[in-house]
């Protein structure tokens, strides 16, 4: 049973560029959440997708956007990259209403130069 997968594992971009990160949820899960983890910090909630809709959003600017596909996979897009966007981006999947534990993927480490 495949767990949560993310791609790419590492990414280097320059300021002002745009990036797309991808996530496939654990088999049987239909909800995907995205988190940003800066070095030495706890993960911060970006947003969550369920039934191809954004259900809730954390305190992140509109430069951060996402999408969920009919197969429940998801993308995180970040426009106009800033140095401060350098972080580990974690995708977590769960089932339905949120009462289930969220399972995290291996993450994508983004470095913005």
């Amino acid at each position: 049973d495949a767990g949560v997968t993310q791609s790419p594992t590492h990414l280097i971009k320059t300021r002002g560029q745009q990036v797309t990160l991808r996530c496939s949820p654990k088999s049987g899960h239909d909800t995907v959440s995205w988190y940003q983890q800066a070095l030495g910090q706890g993960p911060q909630f970006i947003f969550q997708y369920y039934e191809e809709e954004e259900r809730q959003r954390g305190n992140f600017p509109d430069r951060f956007s996402g999408h969920q596909f009919p197969n429940y996979s998801s993308e995180l897009n970040v426009n106009a990259l800033l140095l401060g966007d350098s972080a580990l981006y974690l995708c977590a999947s769960s089932l339905g209403t949120g009462e289930e534990t969220q399972y995290f993927g291996p993450g994508t480490r983004l470095l913005v130069l």
């Binding site: 909800t31 959440s33 988190y35 910090q41 706890g42 993960p43 911060q44 909630f45 969550q48 369920y50 259900r55 809730q56 954390g58 974690l90 977590a92 769960s94 209403t97 949120g98 009462e99 289930e100 534990t101 969220q102 399972y103 995290f104 993927g105 291996p106 993450g107």
Partner: protein
């Protein structure tokens, strides 16, 4: 808005010793999670605590929840080097979405 605080932020302990990590949260949390993170790796789910007085144990780790005090603890018994990692607690308000709010993490280093 839910806020979660952990202490200590860093813990160095010898093998064989016992210690406790504390997690305080500011408002009602529907449930409390503990995760482990190894350097450069993702988060591994350890425990989910659902109600007041809940206690869960796995090996040398035991987690408990006191909803009245808004406090969860992670107790380490007879630490071994393999437990070296960063431990996070996270609260959740389900509402319309299951947004996890994480503490700052406790970096545990177990020395020989």
């Amino acid at each position: 808005e839910l806020k979660v605080e952990q202490n200590p932020l860093f813990l160095s302990m010898q093998e064989g010793k016992n210690y406790t990590i504390y997690c305080n949260y500011s408002t009602t949390s529907d449930r409390l999670y503990w995760y482990r993170q190894d350097p450069g790796k993702s988060l591994e789910s350890l425990f989910v605590l659902l109600s007041n007085g809940a206690v869960k144990q796995e090996g040398r780790l035991m987690a408990s929840l006191d909803t009245k005090a808004r406090l969860s603890t992670l107790h380490i018994t007879a630490a071994v080097h393999d437990l070296s990692a960063t431990y996070f607690c996270a609260g959740i308000n389900t509402g319309t979405a299951s947004k996890l709010t994480f503490g700052t993490g406790t970096r545990l280093q177990v020395t020989l």
